[in-house]
């Protein structure tokens, strides 16, 4: 393996890892807000990838498509919270399952997946490149041929992640989220609109997932059943990074993408499965993830 190949592989790993990070941050934020997540999130990504493809195919510019799809999927995410998660919270009897939301969001995802197959079928599609109107000549850096689109995807996902951290640490909503995550009852006594905080968290999850979907679509193929694999990979990221530490999610997300790109490079048949082995290994040694919550839980 030459140094130039390595650079190429690492770049596509970062581009992929950006998607995982975006999904994982969506999981982080919804879990913090509602102690639940969207198990149909992978299908949200698939919907976004198809919508992005459709928009660009009819000639809408990449940037407009990106924003539009993010907004649409954010609305969808608010709907999933309202329909599939919120109604279960009120049911407080001891018999009810604490995993009900897993099943309802899975059901929602299954329905979305079906909507995709009704419109587009089960075939694989190649999405047009997002930002470069024609296939630009690859950029040559240190002898490596870097795809401009991959560069842009990596950059945009980094920017989205930066925006996410800004929202988390520098906005009122971010502070409210920290309070709601610690204890919703206390948060509401402090005058925080808990419902609103949760709704915004789901909207952000939807937008982040959509960003991942629109960005990753043109890098590979787009297919109706692509969701679950992305979901599981992002779960792995969350499991290693810890569901309580956004910085850990960032490191694990890009790390997972790079490791996957490398192992794909060496073994094209099973390459994308090796990172799972590494994740399982990590979890056996550090079951709560590599990155701890900053506050220790005293109870």
């Amino acid at each position: 393996m030459f140094g130039s190949d390595l650079l190429q592989v690492v770049l596509s790993g970062i581009a992929l890892g950006g998607t995982y990070t975006l999904l994982a941050l969506g999981m982080f934020v919804t879990y913090a807000a509602s102690r639940a997540m969207n198990f149909g999130q992978g299908d949200f990504l698939a919907v976004a990838a198809f919508l992005g493809m459709a928009a660009m195919t009819i000639g809408i510019s990449g940037a407009v498509a990106f924003v539009g799809v993010c907004a649409a999927v954010a609305a969808l995410a608010m709907a999933v919270e309202r329909i599939a998660i919120r109604p279960l919270e009120r049911r407080g009897d001891g018999e009810s399952l604490n995993v009900g939301w897993i099943l309802t969001t899975l059901g929602f995802g299954l329905m979305l997946q079906n909507v995709i197959t009704i419109v587009w079928g089960k075939s694989r599609y190649y999405s047009p490149p997002l930002f470069t109107s024609k296939n630009l000549a690859p950029l040559h850096v240190f002898g490596a041929a870097l795809q401009v689109d991959e560069l842009i995807v990596a950059a945009v996902s980094l920017a989205a992640v930066a925006g996410f951290y800004f929202a988390l640490n520098r906005t009122n909503w971010g502070r409210n989220l920290a309070a709601v995550s610690f204890d919703p009852a206390t948060a509401s006594l402090l005058g925080i609109d808990v419902r609103r905080t949760i709704t915004i968290a789901y909207a952000i999850m939807g937008a982040a997932t959509a960003a991942g979907g629109v960005l990753v679509g043109p890098l590979g193929t787009v297919q109706s059943h692509m969701g679950p694999l992305f979901l599981v990979k992002s779960f792995s990221v969350v499991a290693v990074g810890g569901l309580v530490n956004p910085l850990g999610v960032l490191i694990a997300g890009f790390g997972f993408g790079v490791v996957e790109a490398l192992s794909n490079f060496f073994d094209s048949t099973f390459g994308d499965l090796y990172p799972f082995l590494i994740v399982f290994g990590c979890l056996i040694v550090w079951p709560t993830g590599l990155f701890k919550k900053r506050l220790s839980d005293v109870r």
Binding site: L88, T104, V298
Partner: protein, 593 residues
């Protein structure tokens, strides 16, 4: 429930008759095939029902066990020409081993993390089936798998149905026994409160892994039949949808109920046939079904057919004579094998730290047999921490704990419970999904041999009658026999405390740890508890109690240990403690000089 009118074995005779005549009543091969589909689905779903419905562990990866077993028997029989009576056990062993691994994962990963891990397992299994072409044939599959038809081609579908029908009956027996026997109570208690389970001597991790293995074996059993139905198996059969369809079956049928997986399987297969023309919308319909049932009918179809009545209870309690405040039968007397006045519990230099806080600091104390020993101290003194360290819910960082001449410092909570340490909790730990009587029955020690127990269950009638009577006698001892059939959640707070005491006494303890037994009770209820504790002492039980109510402590205790900021500051009789200056300072503060 109709099942209560008949002994279990009668149910299975009827079940067997239905399976036997179904092929002759079926108008054509197509209907027989539907019966086969129902059986394949129901066997796999039965395992998931026990896993999710009883123990509360979720699995989105049942397709993995299904696929492992299917490929195992297909490859061994088609490529290596093994006979089916060898390939089936091999397939079950493989599925069971995979279940063991996932069960161990489940000990560390709970709820959504477990959902993630099992989802990953199922997905990876599906991907391997697709891509490991040299082994599985990928989507081209393995052809020429021997049919399970007992050598008769024309009667093949009927023979296959009878075979899988027999497997379904066996599955139903295993499932019913698990739900209706002591194991069902144990799994339900683990689902709601593992500390409760440990307190009554249940090795919760073992049970959690065990039920995972069982569910994997049942998923594997259903998968093992699969390739022998058509003689062909390909990776197309092993997608995530199969995991989801099992989930839909158990949710729609009714989670944790005895026939939920059967009802669900029939429903899902028939619905699948009814919407065959809408094939393109199948996932939409099934996804919507999952969502709708979880939202509007969380206990599934089974809850519609059941007249509202407590699970499998009711009739038995009715027959028990109700006396108010009974005597304790001698068979239930606690083990009083320790010479009164001899030390039974010795703590030496016990220290417990939580994230920078030293909750218990170098505490040594001696508890003498047959006494009521109180632990008091201001809020945050470390009393509850010390109780938890003695019970084994957390371990001491330093020091040693000797109970009945055994070093139990490192022993887990369930082992200490089996050695004779029972406890009650400050925030009550009772299992809402079980009746009061069943909660107490969980405390009773197991006396039967497994086979005899199983046969008695199969025979019905007097099954567990003795245990029921004993548990009822214990409730009567505390004067709450009339609540036997209710859920603990329906009881007033004070009576729930008494249920906890009855459950603890059922364990025939040598030592009972009482964590704030009268906190939150009114005068009248507190008096009942005082009487209860006195009668425990009269029975020879040693008690260690934590309490804030000084009147209660002073009137009841033989000896008092006072903690402050995790340290022992005094130890003596109630009179000595009342006069002790350091105790007075701890409670009232030191006057500024």
């Amino acid at each position: 429930m109709s099942a209560n009118f008949a002994a279990p074995w009668i149910r299975y005779v009827i079940f067997a008759l239905v399976v036997a005549v179904f092929p002759t009543l079926a108008p054509n091969a197509y209907v027989i095939n539907l019966g086969q589909e129902v059986a394949i689905l129901a066997i796999g779903a039965a395992g998931l029902n026990l896993l999710l419905g009883l123990s509360g562990q979720i699995s989105l990866g049942q397709v993995g066990f299904f696929a492992l077993a299917a490929y195992c028997t297909a490859i061994l029989s088609a490529r290596l020409s093994w006979p089916l009576w060898l390939t089936f056990p091999a397939a079950l062993v493989v599925a069971g081993l995979a279940g063991l691994v996932m069960g161990l994962v489940a000990l560390r990963a709970r709820t959504h993390f477990l959902a993630m891990a099992t989802l990953a397992f199922g997905l990876i299994a599906a991907i391997l089936a697709q891509r490991w072409i040299s082994l599985t044939g990928g989507s081209m599959g393995i052809a020429g798998v021997p049919l399970l038809n007992w050598g008769q081609f024309r009667a093949g579908p009927t023979n296959f149905f009878w075979t899988i029908g027999a497997a379904l009956i066996l599955t139903q027996i295993v499932s019913d026994f698990t739900i209706e026997s002591r194991s069902g109570r144990i799994l339900r208690s683990i689902k709601e409160s593992e500390s409760f389970a440990a307190t009554v001597g249940v090795n919760a991790p073992l049970w959690r892994v065990g039920v995972f293995v069982l569910s994997a074996v049942l998923a594997g059993l259903s998968g093992a039949f699969f390739p022998h139905q058509s003689g062909f198996v390909s990776s197309d059969a092993f997608t995530l949808d199969r995991s989801l369809s099992l989930l839909i079956v158990v949710i729609v049928g009714g989670l944790g109920s005895r026939y939920g997986h059967l009802i669900g399987a029939v429903f899902v297969v028939l619905l699948g046939e009814a919407i065959a023309g809408l094939y393109e919308y199948a996932n939409f319909i099934f996804g919507g079904l999952l969502l709708a049932v979880m939202l509007f009918l969380p206990r599934g179809i089974a809850s519609l057919t059941t007249i509202v009545r407590r699970r499998g209870e009711g009739s038995a309690e009715g027959r028990l004579e109700s006396r108010s405040r009974g005597r304790l039968p001698s068979t239930l007397a606690p083990i009083a094998d320790w010479e009164p006045g001899e030390p039974i519990l010795l703590l030496d230099g016990v220290t417990k730290r939580y994230a920078g806080v030293t909750a218990v600091n170098d505490v040594s104390m001696v508890v003498k047999s047959g006494t009521v020993h109180a632990l008091i101290g201001p809020n945050g003194a470390g009393k509850s921490s010390l109780i938890n360290v003695i019970a084994g819910l957390t371990y001491a960082d330093r020091g040693s704990i000797i109970f009945a001449e055994r070093d139990v410092t490192r022993a887990s909570a369930y082992r200490r419970a089996r050695l004779g340490i029972a406890r009650t909790f400050q925030n009550l730990q009772l299992i809402g999904g079980l009746s009061v009587l069943e909660n107490v029955m969980l405390g009773l020690p197991r006396r039967d041999k497994a086979v005899a127990y199983f046969l008695r269950w199969l025979g019905g009638r007097s099954f567990e009658a003795e245990q029921r009577n004993q548990a009822f006698a214990l409730l009567e001892f505390f004067g709450i026999g009339r609540y036997a059939a209710l859920s603990p959640d329906e009881l007033p707070y004070g009576h729930r405390k008494l249920v906890e005491l009855a459950r603890a006494l059922a364990q025939q303890p040598r030592l009972i740890l009482l964590d704030e037994p009268v906190a939150g009770l009114n005068e009248e209820e507190a008096v009942e508890i005082v009487q209860a504790v006195r009668s425990l002492r009269a029975l020879g039980v040693t008690a260690v109690l934590v309490e804030h109510d000084m009147g209660f402590v002073m009137s009841l205790s033989d000896r008092i240990t006072v903690l402050d900021y995790g340290r022992k500051i005094a130890d003596g009789s109630p009179e000595e403690i009342r006069r002790d200056q350091s105790v007075i300072n701890a409670y009232l503060g030191v006057p500024a000089s």
